[in-house]
Symmetry: D2
Subunit: 346 residues, 4 copies
């Protein structure tokens, strides 16, 4: 009964098998190998973006920082949700990687940037002089840190605002598969066709060991990206082992199958939790994360029974409640869900 | 017949098996898992450094930059060999990670810093004012980029100079195993007992998929290291899969067995090459890399026969010769070596 | 009738005379001259801080960035008012100078940080791990960007909160004289005795040509400050000409005389404005800045008559009003004030 | 008898008078004033560069760092002379301002980059991949730190090499006037007509209090320059007082008159010194600096008599000699020169 995060789970067997298959003979290092080429091609195909620049990197923080720092000047302002991972959980990666950039927090429900709040933030930043700095990019997380999902039209509306203000747009897709699976849209509709310039396409939470793809839809927008990756220490030498993971996920729709499963488990959990007396669902379920408020005794029972999940004060109903986050992953089973709910119910 | 680099080879089967074993059940993310603890303990044990701080990271450039940037102020001067990887091949990682540091190149044969040249460089940097900046660290590579090996006494002599000048000392051990295996000394004798403060302990070239350990022998010297790693995107979430690799290498002496094998293959290659008419060995063989000058027709024959190695103008006998580097790894076979030599001989 | 800012005014004649006197014979460069020593000693005397480290710098942005970047690690979080100059008007100087730091905005009336809001912001930043980064400093502006003044007890209350959370405290004193003159306290009571670690002691707005003093009350807190100043290009070579300005201001209480005059002119303006029909004073006057809402026709009349002041949407009563800022300086005359009010009155 | 540096001298009376004249009435701050416009126009006129972007800044280190960091990417390599001020005396300003750049030292006599040495350095840096980084700019100092002067043809030859390698070219003109006066060429011939993209046009050593102009001949090359200046704290608020200084120097040829005088005094000194038994001139005199080797007893006599100059081990004949630098400035008198030589002679 582990619902701590989708990064506490194992690697999917097909990814593991791909790593084993890749472990054969010599291969050029630093990404010059055939497997890397094949995986890049597959990313472009899945995204219907034949011109896109694609790079593999071992961490989500690295992917976000690499993409964003390649899009903005070193004094750039980057608008993000006030609960965005890049702001709350990446230890200042953006000011560091950019060499002086600033994240500007914008509010909104379910981790989604409110268009009016963005309009106001853009307005406040429009002063056109050297004192205020330069507004440079917008980053959206999809699915969000609070379990929300932006539909293509919502993304398009925000990117239109961004574009009108001269901003580039990045999407943090650490849980991109969960968003696509939830929406049943194409990855292209949710990204470049909706005005997104760069995507952190997450593999790790989806079932890989450690791989994310940084995708720049128009490579001319990020000319120094490869230099930035190298000096940050993110160009792995035995690079085929990153590529193999992503290729495995993107073969035969495995990535969407796993994401849909995680979403379905979360729906099962949400539905059952809602029926437990005293439990409140704090954010309507959209992807694979549940934010709920629990009665103290239910929580105690669950802990004693070995259930694992995190308190989550950031997304909560009221001060003082016991707010928690429960995350379902590719390996979550219906039985685990049912046992957790039964335990909470007592 | 692939002698391009020790990072073009596969992952050793025992490392692969360790990854497969690690892929079982949930584990806390970001390094809070039991396997990470076990691997850290094993690194401390191997280095006879029970107080050392140990962190795992997926790349050698990351390991060097993390260690060095944690040891110096942001305006620090770091002395290195003029052919050091950190200077020639890491795309400015040190000025970037430090936020303004400078690498100061120092010459010396076989990639080893010449003590007199270091003395002169330290002297030139001793001007005690704000104009010249502050000399802060020395970094040594062992075994070196030109195939040399520093013995413990050589390391101790350089670290004594460094210490007298107030510098911290880092060792780039991307090929640390090859040095230890060549010297038949203890890892402790070659590092902290010889005055080294921080070590990049390489696993990837030694037989892993992607793992290096950053070791700080006195943790008080590098207080912000974990913050620096996180914001650089180098704290992997499914962290057990880094730890498992290093633990496998350090179990039953596998790392030294593999390094000794690579060294032996290089010795076999060097000895045979020296007997080929027209071939010159440019640097006496000490570890697992050979730098040689080839007759043009021998080179052409080898290329046609499918041999892979890199031209290496940095380490060469005379202008105009065909200088090459040939690297042996854990997977190099005697047969491969013999076939290469036979082909070159014609 | 120029009320645009206290930096549009001239240099006070006594400062000008001091510059002329300083222009005699050779003097050691880069701050090694006798006038610099004398000015530093005088700053320490005025602040009753005999151990303080004092440095002169030509700009307020430079002073703030130098002081703050010397107090925090490169990933540090610095709490400031949401309208702080350092956040709104210095083009990202803090993330740039620190190499990765972040400003965290905190609300409060009259440009003063609300203690409860600070408590909440500190609480939200207390998560003790590498994801959230490290809370490192608090910066207060006194007198504030919205015309407010912190009394010593208010400063002490905030610094106590800061200290309890492990933060260093900086005071942006671009208008420090106006605060001290308004409070009729000692500079020591408003700074180190109230828990302030570093002060940007402004001279330029007070009547100088270009000089601020960076004061570190406990020099051990900012070991690299001189290196940071040099590499940022802020160690002027003919340094006596910075020192002479500050020494002139601090001789015979000139600085407080000029600040008190500016405050008095602002009081005269505020009192008269309040009596003009349709005019609202948006923030009770405490120092030398007035924030008011004007009827459109009054504004038009004033503009036509040549009055100069800035629209100031940041400090305003209600959306849509014509909010303006009017600043009095050392050279503002009662006649100017009276003519402005008469013109607005029509 | 002060020959320590041209920055230990006073401000020329005409500059002082200009400051006094500028101190009249209100003026828009941050460079929006009429005097700044006039001074910028005059710089463009003197340089015959009507399209150039011109900015004033209070220090030479600031001018160099601002210009260079605006020309290169944050991982750029900047080639400079191994004795360049930017490398030896600016405390790592380039890696700091660029956020990761590297200075690459190149040798050459009299502080002038040797074309063959530049060719070799460029060749070694031509490796076209992400490991080596990107060669981005060349910076020349004219007149040089070792007293040399590049003629227009020499500049053009080096900039042609730079251009062929894709580099931008910066000229550190802290002593630009001394070079122009020595060559009797036009400033245009020595800069943009010889392939220079950006110039640090020094005023301070020439006779100002503190002012340098950063000139970008093709503004499209340095789009973020104003942002970089602001966040570094180098946009002074009472900006007219920087502009007034430069305008005074550039009125009626004062700058060249002062530089020519300094050069003439240096020539008088060099000629007389050469006739003193035991004295060696280490670098043939070209501008306003003399590098000489003195007999110990002569040096002792001079010191006792109050002569001031610096030992200068960087530019010396042989190990162990007493190498010194003597600098003449706008205020050096023939009498001072003659007394120094008489004292040395004994």
């Amino acid at each position: 009964m582990n619902f701590a995060s989708d990064n506490t789970s194992t690697v999917h067997p097909k990814v593991m098998e791909a790593l084993i298959r890749a472990n054969e003979g010599h291969a050029p290092s630093y990404g010059a190998d055939a497997l890397t080429e094949a995986a890049k091609a597959r990313v472009r195909e899945v995204l219907e973006a034949p011109e896109a620049e694609v790079h593999f990197i071992a961490s989500g923080t690295g992917a976000n920082a690499l993409a964003i720092s390649s899009l903005v000047p070193s004094w750039g302002k980057v608008f993000c949700h006030e609960g965005a991972h890049v702001l709350t959980s990446e230890c200042g990666s953006i000011p560091f990687w950019t060499g002086g950039g600033t994240l500007v927090p914008v509010p909104g429900a379910a981790g989604k940037i409110d268009p009016d709040a963005l309009a106001q933030a853009l307005h406040e930043s429009s002063r056109p002089d050297v004192h205020a700095g330069e507004r440079s990019a917008l980053t959206l997380t999809n699915s969000t840190e609070a379990g929300g999902v932006y539909a293509p039209a919502e993304v398009a509306a925000l990117t239109a605002q961004a574009r009108a203000a001269g901003l580039a747009v990045h999407m943090d897709g650490a849980r991109f598969g969960n968003a696509v699976a939830a929406l049943e849209c194409t990855p292209a509709d949710l990204t470049h066709r909706a005005g997104v310039d760069a995507l952190s396409f997450g593999g790790t939470k989806n079932g890989a060991m450690m791989v994310e793809a940084v995708v720049i839809f128009d490579p001319a927008r990020a000319p120094g990206l490869e230099m930035r990756r190298m000096r940050a220490g993110h160009l792995l030498s035995k690079h085929r082992f990153l590529a193999a993971q992503m290729l495995a996920l993107l073969t035969d729709g495995l990535w969407l199958e796993l994401a849909a499963h995680a979403n379905a488990m979360a729906e099962r959990l949400a539905a059952a939790l809602a029926a437990v007396p005293g439990v409140t669902i704090n954010v309507p379920r959209q992807a694979n994360q549940i934010f709920a408020t629990l009665p103290a005794e239910a929580h105690t029972r669950a802990r004693k029974a070995g259930a694992v999940y995190h308190p989550w004060p950031r997304v909560q109903a009221e001060e003082g409640d016991l707010s928690v986050r429960m995350v379902c992953g590719w390996s979550t089973t219906p039985d685990e869900v049912d046992r957790l709910v039964a335990t909470l119910r007592g």
